[in-house]
Amino acid sequence: MSIITARSISKRYRLGTLNAATLREEIQSLWDRWRRGNAAPAPDAPRDDDFWALRDVSFDIQEGDVVGIIGGNGAGKSTLLKVLSRITEPTYGEARIRGRVASLLEVGTGFHPELSGRENIFLNGTILGMSKGEVKAKFDEIVDFSGIEKFIDTPVKRYSSGMYVRLAFAVAAHLDPEIMIVDEVLAVGDGEFQKKCLGKMKSIHESGRTVLFVSHQLNMLTSLCTRGIVLKQGTVSFDGPVDEAVLHYRRHAGQRGEATMDFEQAGMRVGDSAAVLHRVRLETVEGRACNTFELQESIVMRIEYSLFLPAQRCAVPSFFVFDGMGDMLFVSVAVAADFGEAINRPGRYIASSTIPGGLLNTGTFTLGVQLVWMNPDVHKPFFEQNVMTFQVSERLDEQAERTRSGYMGEHPGTIRPVLPWEIRSVDSAAHKPA
């Protein structure tokens, strides 16, 4: 018997803004319905600005399955998880879930900066559905797992972001639900802690729990999951063993080949009340949109965003580059001090940064963007890990023949920096042929 049964789950979003006109329309339609009974068109009537984030999504998940949900931006992954964790209702369709669900859509939900670590463990634990008694019983285990015993009575606003995440994940990891929904948690924290988390995920799985997992780190999905469901434009485009699912996704992601991701035009609102992301674009130094670069060519990353609220400390964008396996290669954050107050005010901004030619090796890379807004606490209005992919290729011409000293095979490694070399002969006399 399946633990999750989803049947034709569909979710519609109404685009467009709410304004005086919508209030008037709403009152008008209420009035009409009241006067004419149910004869007036229902508010469900299709409209032009409808956007279906999910369309007829059906699947069965068995007890103990660890399922990776794979898909690009706007494929419907987050919406699906939101429906399954009851944050929002589906427009049509039905899901039946047997057992307690713990959603971990983002760690640290409900953490209050003024409360201490101890108080937040109770707050977070009860928000996630534990009783006070359950939290108490696991308290020591949680503190131990987080590794922040010393600061347990300090307000979390004084925590570093790493400590914050560790505490938050520790609470969530000790929920012991029958079904766990995880979305991009492990991207944060240091390597040591990530290993701890992976171990915990594995043990959750081994204890027979069902896990739904969304991550852009494809290799992590393949190592943790047994099954993959690929979503594309709100529908299931593949459902099967995780290796095949990743292959399927990668094959189709590769074909996408866009150099501009325009969230604004696509009607996707990425961000919150503090800031939103409009578009991301990759281009050559000459300003031509491009997603395939030569090895020696510089790669210009460009991001357009709007700040709605002023940031007390700073509001800086950053670029994330992941390799073909989904491992993070590096993060580049704008240095706030270089720009001063000017970038903290509400307004629309275009920021760009350049990966110098001759740094990345050939291959496929994924670009992610994030905005860090400090007011003065760290807040991330948006963090898109998989905005677009781009390729770095090498033309095997005379130049390449020279730099490769004639070797024309595969050059290993994810990066291929051009480093200065020095070779000098020492003690040449000793090796003189006799």
Binding site: R14, R86, E89, I97, R98, I127
Partner: protein, 288 residues
């Protein structure tokens, strides 16, 4: 292998119908209620020197301002009751209503961050503001009672105060319950409206102020001119505030007809509030 409890099945589907209050769910999350109350209490007084003392100082200061402006300058009648005691008594019930109403009004908009990530019965949050309101009321009673005892038993003005002990002990908790339910009901209306149209966030402070002047807090019901009596009659807060004054000061003019109307209004507002709140809570996260 973990054994899945087959009795625990959640069905997720679009909700039909009017009123969907998940009573069993609310009961399961009773611990969260306590923790939220604790959070609001601690967060409110963090980094203040006086801490919860503010819950005592604030009404005292408001009372003094009222005593100077309305009693001293405007010379509004207090039906022979010492002005300071009169305003303090009026504010006892009113502050309880106002703080609970304001808290409940903010419950959806202020917790978007949590609601966007985790499911729990949303009603837990406005209910927690009612509990917080009761705690603040308790603190306020600590200041009110000594002042009241002093005036009622140790001053000559006390002779005019006719305390009806039985009604005080039996009816006072019931009046507080009515205020709590009314504040919850109207707060649910406001939070549902604010979730959709942020304009109401600006209106809510104004509504509280206007509502206070429409309620016999700073003036006795007997001072309301006959042609404005209907306002007092349809305002569901009139009866509880006047009843509190009647119990503690022996001054008031509550009529049985008004009591019935006030109770009916409270029930209607609460029921309507639950309906609109449960309609908005299902998908409001999609529109933020």
């Amino acid at each position: 292998m973990l054994h899945v409890r087959s009795d625990y099945e959640t069905v997720i589907r679009p909700t039909k119908g009017w009123l969907n209050v998940d009573v069993a769910g609310l009961w399961n999350y009773r611990d969260l209620l306590g923790v939220l109350v604790h959070r609001d209490f601690v967060a409110k007084y963090k980094q203040t020197v006086l801490g919860p003392l503010w819950a005592i100082i604030q009404p005292l200061m408001t009372t003094m301002v009222f005593a100077v402006i309305f009693g001293g300058i405007a010379r509004i009648s207090t039906d022979g009751v010492p002005p300071f005691l009169f305003y303090l008594t009026g504010l006892l019930g009113w502050n309880f209503f106002a703080s609970t109403f304001t808290g409940a009004s903010n419950s959806l908009a202020a917790n978007v961050g949590i609601f966007g990530k985790v499911y729990f019965p949303r009603l837990v949050v406005p209910i927690s503001t009612v509990v917080s309101g009761f705690i603040a009321l308790g603190i306020q009673l600590l200041t009110f009672l000594p002042v009241w005892i002093y005036y009622a038993f140790f001053t000559p003005a006390g002779a005019a105060i006719d305390v009806s002990w039985p009604s005080l002990i039996v009816l006072f908790p019931l009046v507080l319950l009515q205020i709590a339910l009314l504040a919850l009901g109207s707060g649910l209306w406001m939070s549902a409206l604010t979730a959709k149209y942020r304009d109401f966030a600006f209106l809510s402070g104004f509504i509280v102020q206007l509502w206070m002047y429409a309620t016999p807090v700073i003036y006795p019901l007997s001072a309301v001119p006959a042609r404005w009596r209907w306002v007092a009659a349809i305002n569901p807060m009139t009866v509880p505030i006047d009843a509190i004054k009647m119990m503690f000061l022996g001054q008031g003019s509550v009529e049985p007809m008004h009591v019935a109307l006030s109770l009916a209004m409270t029930a209607a507002i609460l029921f309507g509030g639950l309906v609109v709140f449960s309609k908005v809570e299902r998908t409001f996260i999609d529109t933020v």
